[in-house]
């Protein structure tokens, strides 16, 4: 018999959950107060931080779009609030695998651009 961990979620399932999560968050809370950017706990340039922010923003937009999240004025502040929360966490956690994944992409591109 298969075990529960043998089942790999389909995109329909994953994005269905994201849609519902976003809709619930938007219904319950406000996201107007975007916290300031934290000081990184490791060495990273301002340019890299900007690129990192853009990477996180694009990921959120792609996933929200794939989930069919409806765009609204509230969504825009929700998106920027989410970007800041995600980036701040990364800047305080150098070992975070998602940060490392993005940094690898950013630095690969920097090397390529010379």
């Amino acid at each position: 018999m298969k075990r529960s961990e043998d089942f790999v979620e389909s995109p329909e399932y994953t994005y269905g959950k994201i849609k519902s999560a976003v809709e619930t968050a938007l219904k319950l809370a406000n996201f107007d107060d975007i916290p300031p950017l934290v000081k990184p706990t490791f060495s990273i340039s301002e340019e890299e931080i900007k690129l990192l922010e853009e990477k996180v923003r694009q990921t959120l937009i792609k996933n929200d779009n794939a989930a069919g999240v409806e765009k609204s004025e509230k969504y825009n502040s929700f998106l920027e609030w989410s970007v800041r929360i995600g980036v701040n966490y990364m800047l305080e956690n150098e070992d975070d695998p998602i940060l490392q994944y993005y940094l690898k992409e950013i630095r690969k591109r920097e090397d390529k651009d010379g």
């Binding site: 389909s10 269905g16 994201i18 968050a25 990921t59």
Partner: protein, 297 residues
Amino acid sequence: MDRLNSEVKKEINSLDFTTKEHSKRCAEIADKVASYLGYDEKDRSFLVNAAAIHDVGKRFIPEEILNKDGPLTENERVIINKHTVYGYIFCIKNEVLREYADVARHHHERLNGTGYPDKLTAEQIPEKIRIISAIDVYEAVTSPHRPYRDSVSHKEAVEILKSNVERCELEQKVTDVVIKVNGIELERKERIEKILSVGQYNDKFKIGKDPNVNEEYKRQANLILKKGEWKGISSDIEVSANLLKMNYSKHQIIMALKQNSPEIPGYEKGLQLNYANAVLKEASRNISLSKGLDLRR
């Protein structure tokens, strides 16, 4: 008949657990579980919202990994598992969503300490998180999954959840409740399918003209009577209303109801037609009422 079949599938799917918006299903199941456990309004609302929001951290996972069509590398698995921590950070940083932070972080923890991200053990995992975990596993195995994009039946899901309980991953009590509330929904679905099978057969072969067909019809009717005992008039009204919405003829529904009604306690043979007509009348009235309510919205 093809149009009818597509309508039937639509109706069945609306009762199924394989719809796109799975977290809505999670929230619906959470609501039923809360109700079953006698939660008050505050706890019930918490559980429903927690079921809807617990995977919010998945938004932060790079799309090419989240949506990868193939086996994940170890690092990709580590990245996907981080959705629990990102969900926690997302919730904890918001004054209103703060109360859901622990659910977002710990819904993949297991009683025997094999879960993530903090490898908590039984006594460290609150009841509401155990419930969300059980609902999440049930939903995950009954959803369309890769590589076959097919879902397992409720029966198979029950076996899988039971094996999770045997391995001390999920709690028996809450898992039993999740299974039970889903089982009730499944009975409703199966009942509609059984009645439909008689209705369709009637329509296709024109009962009464061919003795062989009559025999087959009786066999199908007996199948319904043996497998499904009478669940009460409200259930029959609900099923009939659904069939009416799917454009089944009144004749088809009456035939199905007649065949399904002899088990009603104290009901004499011959009164089945009266019963079927009464049920159909009430189903029609309910549809009219619901349309009226829709207009007022």
